[in-house]
Amino acid sequence: MKPAAVDYVRARSLAEALDLLARPNVEARVMAGGQSLVAMMNLRIASPDLVVDIARLPELTAVTEEESTVFYGACVTHAAIEDRRVPDPSRGLMPQVAEGLAYRAIRNRGTLGGSLALADPAAEWPSVLIALDAAAVIAGRNATRSVMCKEFVTGVFQTRLAEDEILTTIWVPKLSVEARWGYVKLARKSGEFAASLAVAVRDPARGYARVVVGAADGAPLILDNATRLCVGGALDHAAARSAIAADLARAADRQFDDFHRNLHAVAALRAMTQACA
């Protein structure tokens, strides 16, 4: 299908984009890469009055690196991460995730920040960024604030972003040399949205570990018991299975059927096994 009539503005600065979002009685949507937004407009799931294109704002496409952190502009593309054209704080995790995300033609335009801000439960970046303990910088007209990604995503397509705010930067702490990770995406076709998604990160030098399951009928799910098991390194599979089962059972707000509960358990165990190998 074709989109409904809409206005389009390519913002020339972040300030202009924020002003456009603040217009009264205008439903405005921010377009970063547009790879979900335009599809939703074509399907008429989204019919905004105004599209504010931020894809080429220099402050949103830059990447800077400090000793312990990489700061990604929200409009860095999946392909730039896949091709390692930007620094990688994750010792290979983020490039591997990018490579399996949708298709190259999508990855050339789709963005890290767009994916996080949309918070599709089956998308890769929300789960991966939470597993890496990343944070999101949110700009409003009057103030800028930072939110940890694990708090940023609040539900299915729901985030802490207000309608007149823009996600500008994602900062990702660097893993240390000894860190290990595991990543499992279960999908029936390459590039499709995940049926289940699990990420395990273990960084003993920083005293950090986290196991996250995505595509899980809500915001990405941090598995606390599984995470505690992951810290140690040597993984007891029977203990890991029961920890994962307990974590999935504790997520009382999720409606897993047996098939999906099993998919999530298998994905989590495989990711933990990789991270603890």
Binding site: A5, Y8, M31, A39, A105
Partner: protein, 161 residues
């Protein structure tokens, strides 16, 4: 309406477009560049794949208005491209075409796989074609045609070492 200045298949253009117009509809309806096919119109089928600033992109998921100061190439603009020429030859000889609907998108994606050095094995080619649906061939002849073109071309600029 939005004013767009862009380069299309080597020609510099400036035109007014309705903001909701997709790049695919601009190419097909205004410029009669009908190699760009519209299948699903939500980014899944790959038939509308073109090059924007030299990289494959879905013209159904690209607003024409967002192409201001971009370079767009459709398959028609790649007639003289050496990788496309090799693919045209191998698709022809291997009968990698049945109805032909997916073919323009297949050619543009295949060119990109070869250019990026991602066409070195059958598995790699199949993974790289996941975003281009063919409902006729079962892919076998398409995959072998791309593999053959990759071998015939040898090392390509930008190819993975």
């Amino acid at each position: 309406m939005s004013r767009v200045r862009f380069r299309l298949n080597g020609a510099d253009l400036a035109e007014d477009v309705a903001s909701r117009l997709s790049l695919a509809d601009l190419l097909r309806d205004r410029h009669n560049l009908t190699a760009t096919h519209l299948g699903c119109e939500h980014g899944v089928c790959g038939a509308c794949t073109v090059l924007i600033d030299g990289e494959p992109a879905r013209s159904c998921l690209t607003l024409a208005a967002a192409c201001d100061e971009r370079e767009v190439e459709s398959l028609e603009g790649l007639v003289a491209d050496p990788i496309i020429a090799a693919l045209r030859d191998s698709f022809h000889r291997r009968h990698a075409v049945q109805c032909g609907f997916c073919t323009p998108g297949m050619l543009i994606s295949a060119r990109d796989l070869i250019r990026r050095g991602r066409a070195d094995s059958e598995a790699e080619i199949r993974a790289g074609l996941a975003g281009n649906l063919c409902r006729c061939t079962g892919y076998t002849n398409i995959v072998s045609a791309i593999a053959e073109a990759a071998v015939a071309l040898g090392p390509v600029e930008g190819r993975r070492t």
